[in-house]
């Protein structure tokens, strides 16, 4: 529930609020917190929970509610959220959903392939190493790939996988497999 006066105040602010502020979330809040925040915000702002509001106030509330849905749709999805965060630090507090999706797709592709020529090259080599089971060489190539694209999530994830595999692998299996030579 929200009062008419609160709605009037909030609707003036709504364009200035970013999605985190709308849902009253910390920027770095964990994914699990997003849903809780959305529920809590809905309890307060959902049109059905505010049947006492009429006319212009109701319309204003509708505007806010639509923005809340938008915020949730972006923040609930890790990849959309990443795209939004990047944009937010550049100073834009809204992202069209279609754009968030497109960026997320592009990001996924970049993470998979790499976006610099050298990043791509070393990541490709690392994958080939892994196919052959050569963990040590893969680790070296991933390290190289990461020097070109230090923020690439796909690279980081793969490097971590390899690191764990190396740690767990019996010493004999660290190097290139004997048959390969």
């Amino acid at each position: 529930m929200i009062t008419a006066a609160e709605v009037r105040a909030l609707v003036k602010l709504v364009d200035e609020l970013d999605y985190y502020q709308l849902l009253e979330l910390q920027r770095g809040a964990p994914a699990s917190g997003v849903k809780q925040a959305y529920y809590a915000t809905s309890r307060k702002l959902h049109p059905d929970a505010n049947r006492h509001l009429e006319g212009a106030d109701r319309e204003a509330l509708g505007r806010i509610a639509k923005r809340v849905s938008e915020a949730y749709q972006v923040l609930r999805d890790q990849r959309r959220r990443q795209a939004y965060d990047a944009q937010l630090s550049a100073g834009t507090n809204r992202i069209p959903l279609a754009e968030a999706d497109a960026r997320a797709d592009k990001q996924a592709l970049d993470d998979y392939l790499g976006k610099t020529p050298n990043g791509r090259r070393f990541f490709g080599l690392a994958r080939a190493d892994l196919d052959r089971g050569d963990l040590a060489s893969a680790a070296r190539n991933l390290k190289m790939a990461l020097t070109f694209e230090p923020t690439n999530e796909g690279f980081k994830k793969k490097a971590e996988e390899v690191r764990l595999a190396l740690r767990n692998a019996p010493p004999g299996h660290v190097g290139p497999p004997p048959i390969g030579r």
């Binding site: 849903k35 059905d48 505007r63 938008e70 959903l97 279609a98 497109a102 797709d105």
Partner: protein
Amino acid sequence: MAEVAVGIDLGTSNSCVSIAKGRKVDVLANGYGERITASVVAFKEDGSVQVGNTARANLILDPHNTIASAKRLIGRYSFSEEVKKARAICAYKILDGPGHSVRIQIRDELYSLPEISAMVLKEMKSIAEAKLGQPVTKAVITVPAYFNDNQRQATKDAGKIAGLEVLRLLNEPTAAALAYGFGKGLTQKVAVYDFGGGTFDISILEIGKDVFEVLATCGDTYLGGDDFDDRVIDLLADEFVAKHGTNLRSDVYALEKLKVASEAAKRTLSVEEQAEIRIPDIARDAQGVALSIEHTLTAAEFERLVGDLVMRTFKVCDEALQQAGLVARDLDGVILVGGPTRLPLIRNAVRSYFQQEPRTDVDPDEVVAMGAAIHAAALVGDVVTEEAAGGGAFLLDVTPLSLRIGVAGGLAESVIERNTPVPIEQTRTFTTTQDNQERVQIRVHQGESRKADENELLGQFEFTGFKRAPRGQVRIDVTFEINADGILSVTAKDKETGKAASTTLSFSSGLSDGELDQILEADRTSRVQTEVSEDEEIAPAPPIAPKPAPVATKAPSPAPAAPKPASPAPRAKPKAAPSEPRVPATPKPAPAPTPPAAKAPAVIAIAPEEAAEPAIVEDTGTGLLVDGEGDSSLELETTQPRMVSPAPARAASPAHAAKPAPAPPAKPAAAAAAEEASADEPLDLVEDLDALAEAALVDEADLEGIEIEANRDPAQKPDLAGNAESLFDHGADLSRYHNDDE
């Protein structure tokens, strides 16, 4: 007396009305004690209208003036597949109305679909009023989750025509989940498997302490229990042709009987291992000897007939789970909704797919109406109900289908993806493809395909009055807004000038505002004779003596129908029908699927022996009969302009200034410009993901300029030809249907 609001499940085959008061939810029975009422509307010769199980008897007696499964047609364009199919199998006449809407001709009157559905709603309203002893003017009406915007609008109009203020259109699976979670204080993830008469929906919900969040909804609007009946009809008809050489499909009365028998057999198979189908004297051979159908339909045979349809539902379930980011074992419960889910065939398949026992503690025929009632009570402020529902007003629903806008190259750009929470508003910016372009055609599609013509076209409008500028320099903001009812509006706006040039499209329910007013004025729904009061006068309604269902079923049944079939002469029958309008009424309590005494199990139970008696007027499937007459032929002229304007528009172009939506006159230079433009369209040629992302980042997709349409010349410009072809797809389809009709 406190304000009341009911919940109405307006189903394809059956409807149900319910009310929630405090912590209690009641299904309201009609005058015969039946808790569900057939969604069948019978127009009698004396001008009165009957709705419900009585009306269902009329399907066999007077198929030309009896309408079943109107929900399959509501909110559809006259060129849609579903309408085409109905034309082929319904005895009543389906005509084209204004703007490609559908009209049904009954004797010499035309009815729109919302009006037909309004008659069913009116009946449900009367039932509730009789039971509650007070006027009922507010309701929550349920719709399949997968209903598109036109279908929702039309349903809303139907409520209005019936004299109801529609508080909310609620998605059926969501309603079911509400009823399921009501008063339990659960925190669960559940799937609602809703297999109705005409549609299949699956919704995945997260039920919290005080919130019902829909995680995903998927569906198939072309799949339902009616399709099971159709398979059985085909089987029987094919056998009959093989045996006797007579095609029953061309005899409307025989086909109606087949339908009723097939449907009854399906119901029987919900409780029995096999169903005996017997239709005596369904046709005559050349010598005038009566021919009958006798067929024992076993569960195994039935499974072979419809197994693929059941499997199709699981493809949709896969999709829904994936959208929700879950796997089957994450679910805490599976709720079954809809009569066909009583079939062991479906229950077993659901059990093995979800790897758990589906919930059977809620009646699949009533659960939706109950959920609607709970929501209705919450919306009019019944605090107790709201609390018991765990703050049931809190439905966080999603839009079931992606909303798109038609762009160059026959593509459709998504503006709002499916399963986005509502209410929501999204804006995307588009530009022109032509220098000095004056107008663009804004075409709104709903569906999951990147190709425009593979989606449902919701509607379109022309946007003019923006600044004239070189191509690509105009910025047009197109805003899609979905309100909490799931109803869409679209606005186009010149980004620069902002003001004046803004058009809002509201979608077609098949009725313009003017027509709606006329319909409200005419108030034809007042002709609905509510069985409750009327039959009591004539023959004191048989008290609901809970009879042993199976036996009772057939006892009364021979009365209305058995005599009729004797003479296949089609014309004679409509006459006979009205003369005995009430006869079928009396027997009905028995076949009613849910006599109040023993709701759940009493369902179908037709004694296998007599199962096939055509008079067992239970539920009905889609309508069925071949109507030889081409209905739409005269409409073709009027239909063209609305679909895709080019052809007629060009004819009209001299008068372009005054016309609301004509294409501009072909400009001499435009042909050349068009070629360039088509080569230039960013989205047109883009195929790879990277480039796509790029294009979306600048957030510009070219709108189809109407010049392109006007100047298409397939012979000279191959590039453009492809473009134009897709633009004209709908036009082409239309003429195809037209030809079929002839």
